[in-house]
């Protein structure tokens, strides 16, 4: 049961318990985290589940996929640590993960 901390743009923290096998997007949506729209429902087709990965976790989360890189063209204010949360599978290895939510999805 990985614990995930979502931090909203205004600093509000949400600590949730996710299940291994879920995606980070699903963990956010199931816990009604504001700011993760996930319009397309996880098909990597809309870029409305954009998050920033905390610097300490970047390596463990791993690199972006090719389709994800393309989809990030449709996200706002993309940084080095930008990911689409529907493309991150959760496991116990990511227990404690911290991600920041952009001020707005497009």
């Amino acid at each position: 049961m990985p614990k995930i901390t979502f931090i909203e743009a205004d600093g509000t923290e949400h600590c949730v318990e996710a299940e291994s096998g879920m995606t980070l997007m699903e963990a956010a949506v199931h816990n009604m985290i504001p700011g993760i729209d996930a319009d397309c429902g996880g098909a990597c087709a809309c870029a409305t589940c954009h998050v920033y990965i905390d610097a300490h976790w970047l390596e463990r989360v791993g690199p972006r996929g090719e389709i994800e890189e393309d989809m990030l063209d449709f996200a706002f204010d993309v940084g080095e640590n930008s990911r689409l949360s529907c493309q991150i599978g959760l496991s116990d290895a990511l227990d404690g993960l911290v991600v920041r939510i952009p001020e707005r999805q497009f």
């Binding site: 729209d37 397309c40 809309c46 063209d73 706002f76 497009f106």
Partner: protein, 342 residues
């Protein structure tokens, strides 16, 4: 000027897979449809968001792309001669005294219809708007999310933002009439047709337009007119002067006008009766991803089933005095005649 309304049995809102199959199910019961969709082609989300992605859970089609599924559904509905109205968003639905409905679209169509079928999926597709302070005030005269009339851009200093087909196509198309044109994208790779990328690069080399790597950060303007943007690139922040800005960041789905039609919503979804797929307004149905009932699964196949149930109830509203005999396409000559195969 009063617009002469189009009289019909049914208007389907949304030409996605479920809306397309609803044409078929209603058609089998001899109910003719008009279909409105904000996009320019049939297929909805399947055709717009993931035309190339395979879908694996359509019964009897082990693997089918969003585009192919849409094409097959259009073909299946053909015998019923549906009338499509693309580029239209349904904006208002009002009940008339005779219990029919008047449905209007943003592009000026008016329908008088006996039933309304909302098959609008995640809502209507709208261009993603810039989440920047003050952006809204510039919309329509300095910021354009779609180009309706090229003439309004003649001689202007244009910045186009984005790296997909829309951004590149418009950059190529508008550069001859612009006073100056810059394409800005967050990286120097593009998810657009390779041919367009080559054409754009050739224009940049020939000095006919500029390309900048960067992401938009802020807008600069006075008295409601834009005079530039602030962007961040690999070498830090920079400014670009412009009086017309065209951001192309794809489409997003918003529930849109449906939210104001008086239904009690379940989140962003329209609750329906599971027996009839009718909303709280008799005669207005909701099928596919846009509806909600206990146990709802947002699957295309669930939407197909909902279309069949909806059609049964629709028949009773449209032909209150006729008895509906349940028939199979394998054995019924009258169904086969409607399908044009008997």
């Amino acid at each position: 000027m009063t617009v002469q309304p189009i009289s019909t049995d049914a208007v389907i809102i949304g030409a996605g897979p479920v809306g397309l199959f609803a044409i078929f199910e209603l058609g089998l019961l001899d109910i003719k449809c008009h279909v409105v969709d904000i996009l320019g082609k049939p297929g909805g989300q399947c055709a717009e968001l993931y035309p190339e992605k395979p879908i694996y859970d359509i019964p009897a089609l082990a693997r089918v792309s969003g585009r192919e599924l849409s094409e097959r559904l259009v073909k299946q509905a053909e015998p019923f001669d549906p009338r499509f109205h693309f580029g239209h968003m349904a904006t208002t639905v009002n009940r008339n005294r005779d219990n029919s409905f008047t449905l209007k679209t943003d592009a000026g169509l008016v329908f008088k219809t006996k039933i309304v079928v909302i098959a609008a999926g995640g809502g209507s597709f709208q261009p993603k708007k810039l989440p920047l302070d003050g952006a809204e005030a510039y919309e329509g005269h300095s910021i354009f999310y779609a180009v309706r009339d090229k003439k309004t851009l003649r001689g202007r200093n244009i910045v186009i933002v984005g790296g997909g087909d829309s951004a590149l196509d418009w950059a190529i198309d508008l550069h001859p009439l612009a006073g100056g044109l810059t394409l800005m994208h967050r990286r120097d790779q593009f998810r657009a047709a390779p041919e367009s990328v080559k054409k754009m690069q050739a224009l940049v080399e020939a000095g006919k337009m500029r390309f900048k790597t960067g992401q938009i950060k802020a807008l600069k303007g006075e008295d409601g007119s834009l005079n530039g943007i602030v962007a961040r690139g690999p070498d830090g922040e920079f400014e670009l002067a412009c009086d017309a800005l065209l951001p192309f960041f794809g489409l997003t789905m918003k529930l849109g006008p449906v939210a104001n039609w008086g239904f009690e919503l379940h989140g962003n979804l329209v609750p329906v009766e599971t027996e009839t797929l009718e909303t709280s307004e008799p005669g207005i149905f909701a099928i596919g991803d846009i509806n909600w009932y206990p146990g709802k699964l947002k699957l295309i196949l669930s939407g197909f089933h909902e279309a069949a149930l909806m059609a049964q109830r629709a028949f009773k509203i449209i032909h209150p005095k006729k008895r509906l005999v349940f028939q199979y396409t394998t054995s019924s000559t009258s169904l086969q005649k409607r399908l044009g195969v008997a």
